[in-house]
């Protein structure tokens, strides 16, 4: 299912949640909507689902206008942040809900429904738990039930609102892989909302970054991380040291830090340098090393420049061993944006 969003606008009172958003999602794609809270990402997801309706613009499913079609008519599978499982129904009944509710000949027979529930429980590795109630499951298990309930209706598109937000780090990680596996197994077009960039970069084929109701950039995880289109994306995706300074004659300077900035408008500007893009360089500027701590294969070095600015550097352990006392560093790569 190809999904097209055409200049969709949505206001809540006087507060604009979505401002002329355009987005195209390819069939079978796994897309992440990434942004801080209040960026409009959940509103966009709910608009695609048919749980909210836009003030202006269009939502197309395979070229067909579904802007004001109900969620049921769109055949979406929606997974809520707080699971929204039916507390008084067993796991099996929860999963079967979307099939039980069908009328007449659309409704599968009891045996078929039971079989489908079995298959889905197996898909999310919860076999044998069909007779339990949601309150008897862990958070991760509940989210798996919610996922299989959404998949039971064989949705044209699977939508997930902060699906791992309420879970602890370990469960989160395993469920991420789980979602990727389920997506690859079913091939269903999937869109999920998250404020966790790590989650978006790890899981998605493409990431759309939202800020203040607008899409700042859409691209593969590599693209948004390595070639951020805007200052916001650069600051939001991945770690970055931020410098406020001036661009003069194609060079950015902020205190002792100087960077090439060809093609950037003259005047005040912001530069972002990833921690791993700082290297030892005798032609660079001076910093005092305050502290170094190990992070897996890398070491994070906290340093202070002569003007008192804090700088975070990430290097391999061998390289980091050379960061002792006062050293000179330079940025081998930077992103500079006119203010």
């Amino acid at each position: 299912m190809t999904i097209t969003i055409r200049s969709v606008e949505k206001k809540f009172g006087r507060y604009p949640a979505l401002n002329k958003v355009d987005l195209e999602i390819a069939d079978g794609e796994l897309l992440a909507l990434l942004g801080p809270s209040g960026s409009g990402k959940t509103t966009l997801l709910r608009t695609i689902a048919g749980l909210e309706f836009p003030d202006a613009g269009q939502v197309l499913f395979d070229g067909e206008d579904v802007t004001f079609a109900s969620a049921a008519a769109r055949r979406v599978g929606f997974v809520f942040q707080q699971y929204a499982l039916f507390k008084h129904m067993t796991v099996a009944k929860n999963i079967a809900f979307g099939l039980d509710v069908r009328k007449g000949k659309d409704r599968p027979s009891k045996g078929e429904i039971a079989q489908r529930v079995e298959d889905l429980l197996k898909l999310v590795e919860l076999d044998g738990l069909g007779k339990r109630y949601p309150s008897q499951l862990s958070g991760g298990q509940r989210q798996r039930v919610a996922l299989s309930r959404a998949l039971a209706v064989q949705p044209s598109v699977l939508l997930l609102d902060e699906p791992f937000g309420a879970l602890d780090a370990t469960v989160r990680k395993s469920l991420r892989r789980e979602l990727r596996r389920v997506h690859d197994a079913t091939g269903v077009t999937t869109i999920f909302v998250t404020h966790d960039q790590e989650e978006a970069l790890e899981l998605a084929d493409r990431v759309a970054i939202l800020n203040k109701g607008e899409i700042e950039q859409i691209g593969t995880p590599d693209q948004v991380h390595d070639q951020p289109a805007t200052a916001f994306v650069c600051g939001f995706v991945g770690e970055a040291n931020c410098f406020e300074g001036q661009v003069n004659g194609g060079r950015f300077s902020a205190g002792a830090l100087g960077l090439p900035a060809s093609g950037v408008r003259e005047g005040s500007a912001t530069a972002y340098v990833r921690p791993h893009d700082f290297v030892l360089d005798d032609g660079g500027f001076e910093v005092r090393v305050d502290r170094a701590h190990v992070q897996g294969a890398l070491t994070t070095v906290n340093a202070t420049a002569t003007d008192g600015r804090h700088i975070e550097i990430s290097a391999s352990r061998a390289e980091a061993a050379l960061f002792q006392g006062t050293v000179k560093i330079a940025a081998r790569k930077a992103h500079v944006y006119a203010a």
């Binding site: 048919g50 809520f80 039916f86 507390k87 008084h88 809900f97």
Partner: protein, 283 residues
């Protein structure tokens, strides 16, 4: 050592626990149990026979009947109204929501006598609709409709008050999930919303019923105290008492108490049956 290691920071010393529990018990005994016992003692002062006779009196039976009819009309009405109000407040956003919440509480804050007077003012002979009602031979005040109206007014917060926090806590995502899977509004209500609120609804209905049967002030103003016609049980108790028929008064009062006790037993049974209904509900 074991006793010390099990002590928690918020545990009070034994003497404090005994004192606090003792104070509560003594207070309850004085203001609740003693009067309740007195009702039954007074009713049975001259033996079971006269007490039963007083309850079996045609006027008393008429009062029982009227009380049951009043409750039978006003409780379902308020159950439906309370459910609608709670639904509107918990699930929708609209202007005047705060005002609606305040209005629902009004019967709790207004004296029941004033509530009764309001209806006299509207439907009484000199009231706004007085002439129209007389011309069309419709009796509201000093008749059953007035009693039902006054009871509905006084008891309408109970179900709504019980359901609003419950439904607000539950939010709308379960309903959204149901609708997104193709359930109709009605199907969603019966299969998702109703099961989630049923214990709260029953609890509210019980409280509402207890008050509907016991209401005195508002009903007293609109009833007219016509024996056998517009006397409810609480009013009948007062009339008998004022006539120095103590056995009769206390016998009917005892019957009213028994109805209350049945309500409380049902309420407790509900709480045992649905341990999650108060507060813990959650996810």
């Amino acid at each position: 050592m074991a006793a010390i290691s099990h002590r928690r920071a918020v545990d009070d010393p034994l003497w404090a626990k005994v004192l606090i529990v003792g104070v509560v018990m003594a207070f309850l005994a004085l203001v609740l149990i003693l009067p309740l016992a007195a009702v039954f003692v007074e009713a049975l002062r001259k033996g079971l026979g006269p007490a039963l006779e007083a309850v079996n009196n045609p006027d008393a039976l008429a009062a029982v009947k009227l009380t049951l009819i009043t409750a039978a009309i006003s409780v379902p009405f308020n159950a439906v109204f309370g459910l609608c109000a709670a639904w509107a407040i918990a699930k929708y956003e609209f202007r005047g929501k705060a005002l609606l919440i305040t209005l629902i509480d009004l019967p709790f804050s207004v004296s029941p006598v004033v509530a009764g007077l309001i209806y006299v003012l509207i439907f009484g002979l000199q009231g706004w609709f007085g002439e129209y009602l007389v011309d069309n031979d419709i009796k509201v005040i000093f008749a059953v409709p007035g009693i039902v109206l006054a009871t509905v007014f006084v008891t309408f917060p109970f179900v709504a008050r019980e359901l609003i926090p419950l439904m607000q806590e539950q939010g709308t995502s379960e309903e959204e999930a149901a609708v997104s899977m193709g359930a109709s509004g009605l199907y969603t209500f019966w299969r998702v919303t109703a099961p989630n609120v049923r214990w709260g609804l029953m609890y509210g209905v019980l409280l509402c019923n207890a008050r509907a049967m016991g209401e005195f002030g508002a009903v007293s103003v609109v009833s007219g105290h016509i024996r056998g016609l517009t006397n409810t049980m609480p009013l009948h108790v007062e009339i008998l008492y004022n006539e120095y028929d103590f056995v009769g008064a206390f016998a009917v009062a005892a019957l009213l108490c028994l109805l209350a006790v049945v309500t409380l037993v049902l309420k407790t049974a509900l709480e045992v049956g649905a341990p999650g209904m108060r507060g813990r509900g959650g996810h």
